[in-house]
Assembly symmetry: C2
Homo-oligomer: 334 residues x 2
């Protein structure tokens, strides 16, 4: 490994002079600078950023903890973060937690030791010893997608309640009263929020949803398939299904197709979050959409501002609007 000293020796200067040239913050005569740069070139010297981080007490490393890297929603968020962060000269370590609270703790412990400068977290549980440790050490953390009110952290998420409200309102406007809600695991704030939106739409229409038609599972294809199957076995069956996540919607499609049901002729289906190549799935799904890429960028803004200490002490909260995209998967109640 070539060090700053090797360069210094070759250039006939002191190590510190090389350091100054590298970080070109200080004065250095043109000739010295040139000699040093030539020596660097000649030796193929690369500054050891480990030592630099060590001295600067900044690693330029951020981390992103997501619950499911296979979900396009999260890859899109990740791209938003990656793009914004590298513009600012930072790097991101991407960690997949599989919705497992212990994995979150494990990763955070490692990352803490690695002296990361900040973290973006999709929390897998409402509490976390390691997040508290981050706070103690003054390492900024941004909570993504979910509410985590007790911990008083900056947060960026989309308005799940509103999205669910829009979808449900739309289904109600088509005459559906028996709308199955196929949701994720109880306890997650997004799950609760989407339920809230569903209930609000019913309340505003002066209707009461049938509690039998509200299902909780996981945000997976398999869960969607299973819950949709169970929903259909209720009598009388629902005339519409609202799947509160993209994978749940896909699983529901599978279940419906296997029973030979036509969408939307026999039953209506709406989803939450878009998918790439959604145009290929027939019928094209009506969904609530979230600005995933934008969410990533906003989170970066927040984190950088925290690092620059340009933010007030109290936690900031950014809530991005959700929308409704009407396609072909919902029809009027027969």
């Amino acid at each position: 490994m070539t060090t700053i000293r090797d360069v210094a020796r070759l250039a006939g200067v002191a190590p510190i002079t090389v350091s100054r040239v590298i970080n070109n913050n200080d004065y250095a005569s043109k000739e010295t600078r040139l000699r040093v740069l030539q020596a660097i070139e000649q030796l193929g010297y690369v500054p050891n950023s480990l030592s630099q981080s060590f001295r600067w007490k900044q690693t330029g490393l951020l981390a992103l903890l997501v619950t499911d890297i296979t979900n396009p929603f999260w890859t899109t968020v990740a791209r938003g973060i990656e793009d914004a962060v590298s513009d600012a000269g930072f790097n991101v370590i991407l960690c997949n937690t599989d919705e497992n609270a212990e994995e979150v703790e494990r990763y955070l412990r490692v990352l803490l030791a690695k002296q990361i400068d900040g973290v973006f977290i999709v929390p897998a549980s409402s509490d976390s010893e390691q997040i508290k440790a981050l706070k103690r050490q003054g390492i900024p953390a941004i909570v993504l997608d979910r509410r985590l009110p007790e911990l008083l952290l900056d947060a960026v998420r989309c308005d799940s309640e509103q999205g669910a409200y829009l979808v449900t309102q739309y289904l109600l406007s088509l005459g559906h009263h028996r709308i199955a809600l196929i949701n994720g695991p109880a306890g997650l704030s997004t799950v609760e929020d989407r339920l809230e939106g569903y209930l609000r739409a019913f309340a505003e229409a002066n209707l009461t949803p049938c509690s039998e038609l509200i299902f909780n599972g996981h945000f997976t294809f398999e869960s969607g398939e299973e819950l949709a199957t169970r929903a259909l076995s209720i009598t009388p069956p629902p005339t519409a299904i609202f799947a509160a996540n993209n994978f749940l919607a896909l699983g529901s499609i599978k279940a419906l197709r296997e029973r030979g049901m036509q969408i939307p002729a026999d039953i209506s289906l709406a989803g939450f979050d878009d998918l790439p190549f959604t145009q290929l799935i027939e019928p094209a799904l009506t969904v609530a959409t979230q600005p995933a890429y934008e969410m990533g960028r906003k989170a970066v803004e927040l984190l950088l501002a925290r690092l620059a200490k340009t933010l007030p002490d109290q936690p900031q909260e950014i809530i991005l609007p959700t929308g409704l995209i009407i396609r072909q998967s919902c029809g009027p109640k027969k």
Copy 2:
């Protein structure tokens, strides 16, 4: 920040003793160990792994450079790598290069400075100044998916030629002679290999493919749509399309549907690489499949063996078999 010295002071021992307890490699009396652990607990001490890396000359950091993080093929490879690597106590930095050679160079420069212990690369060009720099510094690099013969590096890839051969042979066996090949950019080894496989199948059948029906574009949905459209405008049109990548296949489906063509009644379609939720696309696609997850794990084995210096000097090359999954998208030529 609490350091090893703070712990030592509180426990009434020397810093090195704390170090020994942390890395529990050395002897330490039960009582001392206990006192130290208590002090660690009390202070909430976390070892600074930056310093550790500094001393050990090992960061425990690996990097993975992929060309398109939104392609499920690559997320699957990434998971395979991530799983295998974390079993071994390493971490992975995931970098997305968007098939851009300059991005590869930029990332490698940063990673080199960060003293990563090794790299997995999907190269975006046949040559790379930074890969040479890696070699010079003795940092192991594994080339994924593509051939890069001049650089003499370890490599793991799937047998593209074989996969393409199997698909083409199958289509020929159904009676198709005019098979459009919709491929990625000329110059990539996977693109060349898939073309080779296509040609070999024709040659073995004593047939000559029509060169008009061989198309190059990018590995994207849009490219698939465009090239399929162009293929259909040829007279006489192809009776089958072989899309040499999953996104290309999806784009082709779109083009075919828009022209109202039924698959496989009007035209046959086969792809390369599976997609998640493939069961939802109608008709289910016949494809060549690659063991993506396995590829990731194999690459890790190779890299770890390189780090452990248990491998012969000359570059190792692992080629994984590809298969053919016959579903419903291909039918006999009318």
